[in-house]
């Protein structure tokens, strides 16, 4: 049982690799597009990534219309990054007000040592 699952997973992984490594070739003859040469991932993956990112943006409070145009501005690899790890990405925001007291003490010391740069009043 276990080995058949392993085999199933293995074939799925292999299939993914194979699909991912097949270069996109136009079905019709004619001009080869810049993207056909520059983007080495199969298009189908990119389309799925983008749909995934759009849904995630909406879950994070972005309107449908904004989410669509935001996804359209991403490159394939950016869409992939977002699809894979949006939850773990640092989101630049820095607002010092919410820092807890214990953390405050530690950061005050590290600020004074010049290791961090959290509080305006520690500036030298």
């Amino acid at each position: 049982m276990k080995s058949s699952i392993t085999r199933l997973v293995a074939s799925a992984v292999i299939l993914t690799f194979v699909l991912g490594s097949v270069p996109f070739a136009p079905a019709h003859a004619g001009m080869i597009q810049t993207a056909d040469v520059f983007d080495d991932r199969a298009r189908i993956h990119a389309v799925l990534d983008r749909e995934d990112v759009r849904a995630q943006l909406e879950q994070h409070g972005v309107s449908l219309a904004d989410a669509k145009s935001r996804v359209a501005a991403l490159s394939d690899s950016e869409a992939r990054q977002m699809a894979d790890q949006l939850e773990n990405m640092p989101a630049g925001a820095a607002d010092v007000v919410g820092v807890l007291f214990t953390i405050f003490i530690i950061l005050l010391v590290t600020d004074l040592l010049g290791l961090t740069s959290v509080f305006p009043f520690t500036r030298r």
């Binding site: 270069p23 070739a25 136009p26 003859a29 004619g30 001009m31 080869i32 597009q33 810049t34 993207a35 056909d36 040469v37 520059f38 983007d39 943006l57 879950q59 994070h60 409070g61 972005v62 309107s63 904004d66 145009s69 935001r70 359209a72 501005a73 991403l74 490159s75 950016e78 869409a79 990054q81 977002m82 949006l86 990405m89 640092p90 989101a91 630049g92 925001a93 820095a94 607002d95 010092v96 820092v99 807890l100 953390i103 530690i106 950061l107 010391v109 590290t110 040592l113 010049g114 290791l115 961090t116 740069s117 959290v118 305006p120 500036r123 030298r124």
Partner: protein
């Protein structure tokens, strides 16, 4: 016990706290201080340092992009912040190309020397309680050992180089510039530049991107992919002569660039020169790789299609 651990961690951190001296790594003629006066400042409100940093960099490049416009383009309410891929993507919607900047302090300084403000990601705090923050590097003063940033609610904040370097390292030294299509950042390599330009073209289209391909092929005449992409942009905007010249330059730079040979062949066919088309496609079909089948198909089609009336 916890306190002892924290103190040990602090001591360890302090062990690598020496401020980097950049003067050794820079040429003697390089300036010791610089400030980009013209970069506008927008104080951040709430958690919106991402849109504010982008507005400063984009406006400095001559784009008309306000903080209010950028908030719905990069701010993620659910994360109360903005993530890097979207920071990179948003300038494309304002006609600006985002380029990555290398992870050395000297890379930041060379952008300033070239007149380009740099958006950086910092973790102002420690990894256990991260405070992620986007700021814009607008200058430096090496005599005072400081970097000058538009950051948060403070314009031209002077941050000691050593402190900045640590907060930047905790943001994995992420940095970018956003430039008009006819400009390239200092110190970038052809691979990274061509990829960035291509990402822009997908959003902004070939006509807006053409100046970038022209600049890139001038800077890296040996980069065959640059000529290939430039040829496609010329072709897409209806300039077949320029496309022909660019594809020719691509195969001069790399005789094994099969896609450039195929496009050259297709172009010759359209221009009514089937003999030249055949030679170009045969060259492509003789190059091992994924394009061989495409070239062979195009050749077969060329043989069976009735020849168009020749122009020559």
């Amino acid at each position: 016990m916890k306190i002892a651990g924290a103190l040990t961690a602090l001591l360890l951190l302090n062990g690598c706290a020496a401020a980097p001296d950049l003067r050794d790594t820079r040429s003697a003629s390089a300036p010791s201080h610089a400030l980009l006066d013209a970069v506008p400042f927008h104080p951040q409100t709430d958690y919106q340092c991402g849109p504010a940093a982008l507005a400063m960099a984009l406006q400095a490049s001559g784009a008309d992009a306000s903080v209010e416009t950028l908030i719905p383009q990069v701010f993620l309410p659910g994360r109360e912040g903005s993530v890097q891929p979207e920071m990179t993507a948003a300038p494309r919607r304002h006609g600006r190309i985002s380029y990555p900047v290398g992870g050395e302090l000297s890379n930041l300084l060379e952008q300033i020397d070239a007149g380009h403000p740099v958006i950086v990601l910092q973790n102002l705090s420690l990894p256990i309680y991260p405070l992620w923050h986007y700021a814009v590097v607008v200058g430096y003063d090496l005599d005072a050992g400081a970097l000058i940033l538009h950051s948060g609610t403070e314009a031209r904040r002077r941050v000691p180089l050593g402190t900045f370097d640590k907060t930047w390292a905790r943001g994995k030294r992420w940095a970018m510039v956003a430039l008009p299509p006819e400009e390239l950042p200092a110190g970038i390599g052809p691979l990274a530049a061509l990829a960035a330009i291509h990402d822009f073209e997908r959003v902004a289209g070939p006509a807006a991107t053409l100046p970038a391909w022209v600049t890139a092929t001038e800077r890296w005449p040996d980069a065959s992919n640059g000529w290939f992409a430039r040829g496609n942009a010329h072709y897409a905007t209806g300039d077949r002569d320029a496309a022909h010249a660019a594809f020719t330059a691509a195969v001069h730079a790399d005789a094994a660039h099969a896609p450039a040979w195929i496009n050259l062949g297709t172009l010759y066919e359209e221009l009514g020169a089937p003999e030249r088309a055949r030679r170009a496609l045969e060259t492509a079909a003789a190059i091992d790789g994924p394009w061989q089948a495409v070239a062979t198909d195009a050749l077969a089609r060329l043989r069976t299609d009735p020849a168009p009336a020749p122009l020559e």
